[in-house]
């Protein structure tokens, strides 16, 4: 077994522990490369099936190609897709691009709040009917208690502190200084009523590992990651007002791997194009404690 086999095997193991332990399981799909690898690993773990729904939090500021890609593969792979949104903040234009709030406040409202309330079922969920390919809305859905997330420890400081199974309080809050121990391959899978857990199968993967795996498995990813001839591409995907493309002429997965291994991005952090990380010395930590992914 090589290192990619080892990473894959551990992720699959975590998926199966999660599926065994939690009845109300959901997986977050941001459409980016990490959560798409996560989705692929779920299909590996369950022999081609994805036996739980996927949830996408749509901020309405996602780049259109992302939504098109999401709906195409949700239909092709027969995924149970749930879409959540902070309709009120978007409709009343309480967002950063409209100039009403800061970047971090916008993230808190459109992502953290929307996620929290869609997970709990308090806000309506739009659900894709895999047969007709159309969306329908469900109010007062059941809460999810296990949430599978594609966070990687190498992304930024606060994520390096996560467990494979990280408990969250009722309001999605994160008690960083009092996390459960994880011994060998035994994780915290017992939870008091009212708490829920974030599960991180990709915690040990690096950005380079992700691309190497995409190459090996031939996983389709959004075209935005590749240079379309303008000398620019996205290295990390988010909302268009806060995510800048990087200067790069990488047109293939192999060229991206080369850039990361020894080329121009070997020593530049992946999220350097994300503006919200820079607002405050520890912006992401503040967001994560209140439930941000």
């Amino acid at each position: 077994m090589d290192y990619l086999d080892e990473l894959e095997s551990q992720s699959i193991y975590i998926f199966r522990e999660a599926y065994r332990s939690f009845k109300d399981l959901v997986m977050l799909w941001s459409i980016g490369k990490d959560s798409t690898v996560l989705l692929w690993l779920a299909r590996k773990a369950f022999f081609g099936h994805v036996p739980f729904p996927l949830m996408h939090i749509d901020t309405s500021f996602k780049i259109p190609e992302m939504i098109e890609y999401r709906d195409r593969f949700a239909r092709q792979w027969k995924l149970k897709l749930i879409v959540g949104m902070n309709r009120e903040a978007i409709d009343s234009r309480q967002t950063f691009p409209d100039g009403a709030v800061s970047r971090l406040q916008c993230c808190a409202a459109l992502k953290t709040e929307a996620l929290r309330h869609t997970l709990s079922g308090r806000w309506p969920r739009r659900i894709l009917d895999p047969d007709s390919g159309e969306f329908y809305t469900v109010e007062n859905g059941p809460p999810f208690t296990g949430v599978i997330v594609g966070a990687r420890a190498d992304e930024e400081g606060s994520r390096s502190k996560e467990r494979y199974f990280s408990p969250r309080g009722q309001e999605s809050d994160w008690e960083v200084s009092d996390q459960p121990p994880e011994l060998w391959n035994q994780f915290k899978t017992d939870f008091a009523p009212g708490t829920h857990v974030r599960i991180h199968p990709l915690l040990d993967w690096t950005e380079l590992n992700i691309w190497e795996y995409i190459q090996r498995e031939n996983i389709p990813v959004v075209s935005l990651y590749f240079d379309q001839g303008y000398g620019r591409r996205y290295r990390s995907l988010g909302c268009w007002p806060c995510t800048a493309p990087v200067e790069s002429t990488a047109k293939t997965v192999a060229e991206i791997i080369e850039e990361l291994r020894s080329g121009k991005f070997a020593h530049i952090a992946e999220r350097s194009g994300r503006q919200q990380d820079k607002e405050d010395g520890s912006g992401l930590e503040t967001l994560r404690r209140s439930g941000y992914m």
Binding site: D2, R16, S160, K188, T206
Partner: protein, 609 residues
């Protein structure tokens, strides 16, 4: 990618990854060492060093390498590592994941979490402070966690004027300590993390030292062998059948912990003892396999469709099997807020098994900071290490840790939390199991009324008993039980039907998951005993009853009898049901047979004057 673009060893699929944990007493300089290692090997993202330096300047703090890791506000505020931060770095030999484990005793469970997933450890000792409480405790825990590759860095040599005698005294004392726990560090390295001495480059200030630098020592560690040559062990995590998605495969899923298995091999599920053969090795988006080996998460279909109970370990029939038993002699480390006590029910997680477990006996409690032992303790306090005897209600499959580590380790759950972890030293054949001992004690202290069982028998014209209906779901067991109750009641008998749901809603409302079935069984046994003591015939139905569960119920119901009526196919192998009915559809006939059995066995008394 061009061949010359990366160093040969790092390119392509031959690359290696290794987890290394950095541990030591609080303030002995772990974060500084890691921060400096990242900076000196050029592993930091561009701008990271500058931004942390700027942050320090802004807050009027002197820059320290440790701040590179302290990405969280809370950490910076307290100046100590709270959790295991992971950082990634590369040498010319391989990639490393460095786990920075906290040295403060309050965060010991975090240190354990970091160390438990490491393949090697770098242990720091402050040259000026010397060996401290956690230097010893961490050393001991490494041995418990099974980490054998250790380098000891004697840090802050700058504060000891780079003196050779200071280094050698610590080396001598600490080697002697580790010997007691059968650990032998491969390297002792004098270091000043702050100034970079002997970290990535050899120090001119300690020319008396001719061993490797920290970086060289790390590169000299070897990857643990995957365990292919050991007997095959496959804890079954789950059995999948995605029929609703048009997939009829029934797949036993899990990870091969050790050994190999091929299509066609005969296999045994333990502890159940069921046998079958591997029909296929399943996977998604990969070429068909005929062999699965250690480390792979995979799945098997079997030639015979045997029922696979949960919690099993799959072994090969031609190899030494895993052990099975209910009594385990273990070395256990306790992290719970509440001490571990005898008589309390905990949950054991061992390989894929989850079982109720009790602390039966404490042999010794060890103070890991000085290895002194206490054999009189009656409980295991937080941060104690104890050699003790655990007992499960049902048999579990396992190995001795000295033979197969992966199936010789476990954790203990107390009130939803992982409160303990340990290794299995041996299996014990106890003179008496925990439940029998409990029943003996219960009978001794039971407060008896003045009415004796014979008085009740005479009054009620019956002998008290538990009538247990078993068989698969959906054969109408509860309907039969209710009808039986009704008819016996009409005939003047003292009888009560206990529905499974009623018990779950009442005394068992604190039980949440299917994992806790054995606790439900235990409580059913105690409830049955109460009803029998009151002179009643209690009727209840339970699906998929197995030998161990029946044995537990029988034991707890003592001295009263238990009549087992199997309706349809059942799972009892060692014990025979008192009555086995293949055709449950004919309810009147079933009832008649049960009533005949009760009369024949003198539970229903008739008086002929």
């Amino acid at each position: 990618m061009t061949a010359s673009s990366t160093a040969g060893l790092l390119s392509g699929r031959n690359r290696q990854q290794m987890n290394i944990v950095v541990i030591g007493h609080v303030d002995h300089g772990k974060s500084t060492l890691i921060g400096r290692l990242l900076a000196d090997t050029g592993s930091l993202p561009k701008g990271k060093l500058e931004s942390v330096q700027a942050y320090c300047a802004r807050n009027a703090k002197p820059f320290e390498y440790a701040f590179l890791l302290d990405a969280l506000k809370e950490e910076q505020a307290q100046g100590i590592t709270i959790d295991t931060a992971r950082c990634f770095f590369k040498s010319s030999r391989r990639e490393y994941i460095i786990l920075d484990a906290p040295g403060h005793v309050e965060f010991l469970k975090n240190m354990i979490s970091g160390a438990a997933r490491a393949e090697a450890a770098l242990l720091l000792i402050d040259a000026k402070e010397g060996i401290r409480e956690n230097s010893r405790r961490h050393g001991y825990l490494l041995s418990l966690l099974g980490i054998r590759q250790i380098a000891v860095a004697v840090n802050k040599m700058d504060l000891a004027d780079y003196r050779r005698d200071v280094f050698e005294t610590i080396q001598k004392d600490y080697t002697a300590f580790l010997q007691q726990v059968k650990l032998q560090p491969r390297f002792f390295i004098p270091v000043s993390a702050r100034f970079g001495d002997n970290l990535c480059t050899r120090s001119a200030r300690m020319s008396w030292y001719d061993g490797p630098t920290v970086l060289e020592a790390m590169d000299r560690f070897e990857k643990e062998p995957a365990g292919r040559e050991k007997p095959f062990r496959f804890p079954v995590q789950d059995v999948y059948k995605f029929t609703e998605e048009g997939d009829d495969r029934r797949i036993a899923a899990g990870r091969v912990e050790t050994g190999t298995v091929r299509v066609g091999d005969e296999v045994v599920f333990l502890p159940s003892g069921k046998r079958s053969r591997i029909a296929s090795i399943e996977g998604f988006n990969k070429p068909p396999q005929t062999e699965a080996c250690a480390g792979q998460s995979t799945g098997f279909t079997l030639t015979e469709q045997v029922y696979i109970p949960p919690n099993q370990i799959l072994c090969r029939a031609d190899q030494p099997p895993a052990r099975t038993g209910t009594c385990l002699k273990v070395n256990l480390f306790w992290m719970g807020r509440q001490p571990m006590v005898k008589g309390k029910r905990y949950k054991l997680k061992l390989a894929a098994a989850r079982e109720s477990v009790w602390l039966r006996e404490i042999y010794t409690v060890l103070d890991a900071t000085d290895l002194s032992t206490d054999s009189r303790s009656c409980q295991i306090e937080r941060h104690d290490v104890a050699e003790c005897l655990l007992e499960t209600l049902r048999p579990v499959a396992f190995d001795r840790v000295s033979e197969i580590a992966q199936t010789g380790r476990f954790v203990i759950i107390d009130n939803y939390e992982i409160a303990g972890g340990g290794i299995i030293l041996d299996a014990i054949a106890p003179e008496k199991d925990w439940l029998s001992e409990h029943v003996q004690r219960r009978q001794m202290y039971w407060q008896r009324s003045r009415i004796r069982p014979q008085n009740r028998s005479e009054r009620y014209k019956q002998n008290a008993a538990l009538v247990l209906l078993c068989g698969p779901n959906g054969v109408g067991k509860s309907e039969i039980a209710k009808t039986l109750e009704e008819q016996l009641f009409s005939a003047g008998r003292m009888v009560y039907y206990l529905g499974l749901d009623n018990s779950l809603l009442g005394v068992d409302s604190d039980l949440q998951t299917a994992d806790e079935r054995d606790e439900y069984i235990r409580r059913l046994g105690e409830i049955a005993h109460l009803f029998a003591d009151a002179g009643l015939i209690l009727i209840t139905a339970i699906s998929h009853l197995d030998d161990y569960e029946l044995q537990a119920i029988r034991t707890l119901n003592q001295p009263y009898p238990c009549l087992v009526v199997a309706i349809g196919p059942h799972r009892l192998v060692h014990s025979r049901p008192d009555l086995h009915l293949d055709n449950p559809a004919d309810v009147p006939e079933v009832i008649e047979k049960i009533k005949c059995l009760l009369a024949r066995e003198h539970y229903l008394l008739e008086y002929h004057l």
